[in-house]
Amino acid sequence: MAAYIIRRLVWTVPVVLLVILMTFLLMKQIEGNPFRQTERAVPAAVQANLERKFSLDRPWYVQYANYVKGVATGDLGPSLVLRDRTVNDIVKEQFPRSVELGLLAFGWAVLLGVPAGVLAALKPNSRFDYGSMLFSNVGFALPNFLVATLLIYFVSVKWGLLPTSGWTTWQHKILPSFTLGLVPMAYFARLVRGTMLETLQQDYVRTAKAKGLRWRRVVTVHVLRNSLIPVVTAAAPLLGYIITGSFIVENIFAVPGIGRYYVTAVSARDYSVVMGLTVLLSVIVIVANLVVDILYGILDPRTQEARG
């Protein structure tokens, strides 16, 4: 197992290098000037000073090499637009908030989505089943911005129950995390229901039942455990996605996280922020996938043996 983990970790290096190269070349391809954020034309002298300051006057391969060197030493460089801050500052200050938002959203998904799926599968075609599946279909289909706008309008402006936006107290965190958690919640509910129904048909479940085991024990020990494998598979990339893909939710709820920078940095041509966040995102996805593989082995020993 240890050898496997190490091998996988070593593989992340070329993957990250490739990600940097691709992002770097793509960023160079699009037109636009990071030093011109308004209509105002930038005088040649000012442009030259700025390019020199941020080493954009060097050939692209030198820039790339410098950047890789920076990443290797944990220095993601200065932001080209937020002049008082480095990419490290931005990540250090704002990434934890996105992680918190993502985990809370994930919490909603697990807390509500998994039980909904389980209960629906245990009583298929019941009213609860139809109800929860309707809810999850709707939850899946509604875009974030719509849910967010409606929640703020009713819960905050109309009923005055929770603050509209911000990220200071626990009350501030309810609406954004719920909004972000809605899609994974719906996804989990449907996934768990499906796999549960399938597992319930398995021979070993019938055997356990025939042996006279209590139904509750059959469900919790045998059915649930095996039904959760696909959930775990889906969970890790999903977690990566909700941590970094929360642009809309962060923007609408004014959550000072990192997701919204990802998109604004692209339109502002803030190359170093785009690069830094891409590297961060790819590392998260790689690590998340690794964790899944490890959890797989624990949940289903067969996969571990197969790997040797």
Binding site: N33, V42, P43, A45, D84, I90, T164, A254, R260, S267
Partner: protein, 546 residues
């Protein structure tokens, strides 16, 4: 985003119904006479800022949010009065002698660490902003000073020598002498811009790029930066040691950074903030918001225009026809909806000298009859044109409206959107041949028509129209050297006539002059004021008893 707008409209309808219903119920309410109420005990203003300030370094800041934070935590040499004329601030007086401006500083300016604010601070700061190593985006705001551009453009080897030649000199602690490249009568007024603020040298040198963090920063204005949680909040507290602190009512300004326009409005409506920063209200919500007692609008020095590519649409009669076919008032009433003013020229209403400069040629309403007459006179008019705009809220709707108006002249307009950063590169200069017409806007840096008219000189980096006239260039150059206001306004009138007058070349069809729209609680509405340059002075704000 389209869907979102629709939802908001639906939400707006719900609110409108609720408002009407509520209005019917409470007939006998007496309106509180807001004017009579005294100041409230609790002088804490909660406001929403529309963006994270990209930098609170006066040398590096380029945007409105940073500028407004800076102008409240720092003391400029001058501030702008209601008519945009400079009024004394840290400088108690100034003398202008041709190209030499001398500021006389007050003796009670203090940095928050107790150091006196001196003329040397300004000399250091301005030269720092011009230092090629700092690479300040707005270094060019100071290019009117002798030697400034050369120093900003210097190679490392010559930098030190050129630095000493920059025409700014602290004669003593309280006298700052500035030598300009030409008379530039607007220079004193320009000193109210945040690029001309002083920074505290020891602090800047000690902390480098981190000097603007609240734990490090040393300022000299009516408020101190007590907290700055990036992307979340900005807290200002009254600077009790400021030279005029007795006149400042607010104890604290608790600012939240809310980028999304709709969320900003919702935070206001939920009672979480008392004022927005004037950064604009969502167009889709405008009809409803305009009805609120908290709605406020201010004239802005800004022009929204469509530029012509003179190479592609060479006949001035066709340009006249197109400019006359635009129904500006209708665009404002039905599309833009933010109480803008129909624009008849490049220089916006409210600009000093406007009455002299205005041409009265382009009408606020479409004049189709005249437009068709012009079109008939056009030699081989271009029937198929392409209009470019940047893909930000509102522009497309205006383009579609104008497209329909030009259809009346038999012109088929293709409209094309581009993402902003790409768009700016695409337009040029040199002007892009693929562009027949393009949308742009200009918001003033300072209150002199020069800031608008110099855009159309042949070497201007903002001129994408192929309009190049030596006569026009000469007029602008002459105005630069004409200190007398009336004489200069006359030159500006001639220049504006060359652009948008009856015999003008019409390189642009101006659409509207901007307004700033805002929401402000009635308790602060009287004292919270945004000037035509989008600046607000929090030291003047008093919260009244509700």
């Amino acid at each position: 985003m389209r869907l979102r707008v629709r939802v908001l409209l639906a939400a707006a309808l719900v609110v409108a119904v609720a408002v009407v219903a509520a209005g019917c119920g409470g007939g006998g309410d007496t309106k509180g006479a807001a004017g009579d109420a005294g100041p409230a005990k609790n002088q804490v203003l909660r406001m929403a800022w529309g963006a994270e300030p990209p930098s609170l370094d006066p040398g590096l800041a380029t945007d409105t949010t940073s500028s407004n934070v800076l102008l409240n935590i720092m003391d400029p040499l001058v501030r702008l009065g209601p008519d945009l004329q400079p009024v004394p601030a840290l400088a108690e007086s100034w003398d202008v002698d041709g190209k030499v401006v001398t500021f006389h500083l007050r003796d009670d300016g203090r940095w928050t660490n107790g150091d006196p604010v001196t003329a040397r601070d300004f000399e250091y700061s301005w030269k720092r902003t011009l230092d090629p190593k700092l690479a300040a985006d707005y270094a060019y705001q100071l290019y009117g000073i002798v030697g400034a551009e050369a120093y900003n453009n210097a190679k490392p080897a010559q930098a030190a020598a050129l630095r000493d030649k920059v025409g700014v000199k602290a004669v003593d602690d309280r006298t700052l002498r500035v030598t300009l490249t030409s008379a530039q009568p607007w220079f004193v007024q320009q000193a109210a811009h945040h690029s001309f603020l002083a920074v505290h040298q020891p602090t800047v040198e000690q902390y480098g790029a981190k000097w603007t963090e609240p734990q490090n920063i040393v300022t000299n204005g009516p408020f101190e930066l007590a907290g700055w949680k990036h992307d979340a909040s900005i807290t200002l507290v009254k600077n009790a040691d400021w030279r005029n602190a007795g006149k400042v009512a607010l104890d604290r300004v608790e600012g939240r950074i809310i980028v999304d326009g709709t969320t900003r409005v919702q935070a206001f409506e939920a009672g979480e903030v008392d004022a927005l920063d004037g950064g604009g209200l969502p167009p889709a919500d405008m009809p409803r918001l305009k009805q609120l007692p908290e709605y406020e609008k201010y004239p802005a020095l800004g022009t929204y225009y469509y530029g012509f590519n003179l190479k592609n649409i060479p006949d001035v009669n066709q340009r006249r026809a197109m400019a006359f076919a635009i129904d500006r008032q209708s665009i404002i009433d039905n599309v833009a909806q933010a109480d803008q003013i129909p624009a008849s020229g490049m220089v916006p209403k409210g600009m000093p000298g406007f009455e002299t400069i205005e041409q009265h040629f382009l009408p606020p309403r479409a004049d189709l009859e005249k437009a068709k007459q012009f079109m008939a006179r056009a030699d081989d008019p271009k029937q198929k044109i392409t209009l470019f705009y940047n893909d930000a809220p509102g522009h497309k709707e205006i383009a579609v409206a104008v497209q329909a108006m030009w259809k009346e002249l038999g012109i088929d307009t293709t409209i094309k959107a581009q993402e902003f950063a790409q768009y700016l590169e695409f337009l040029g200069p040199p002007p892009n041949n693929a562009v027949d017409m393009y949308r742009l806007g200009w918001i003033a840096d300072y209150g002199d028509p020069m800031n608008f008219l110099e855009l159309w000189t042949s070497k201007s980096g903002n001129n994408n129209s192929n309009f190049a006239s030596p006569a026009y260039d000469r007029l602008i150059e002459k105005a630069r050297n004409t200190p007398d206001d009336e004489q200069r306004y006359e030159l500006y009138r001639q220049a504006e006539a060359m652009l948008t007058g009856p015999n003008g070349a019409l390189p642009i069809a101006p659409i509207y002059w901007y307004t700033y729209t805002n929401l402000e609680r009635e308790s602060v509405k009287d004292t919270f004021q945004i000037n035509p340059l989008d600046q607000f002075d929090l030291s003047k704000v008093v919260i009244k008893e509700a």
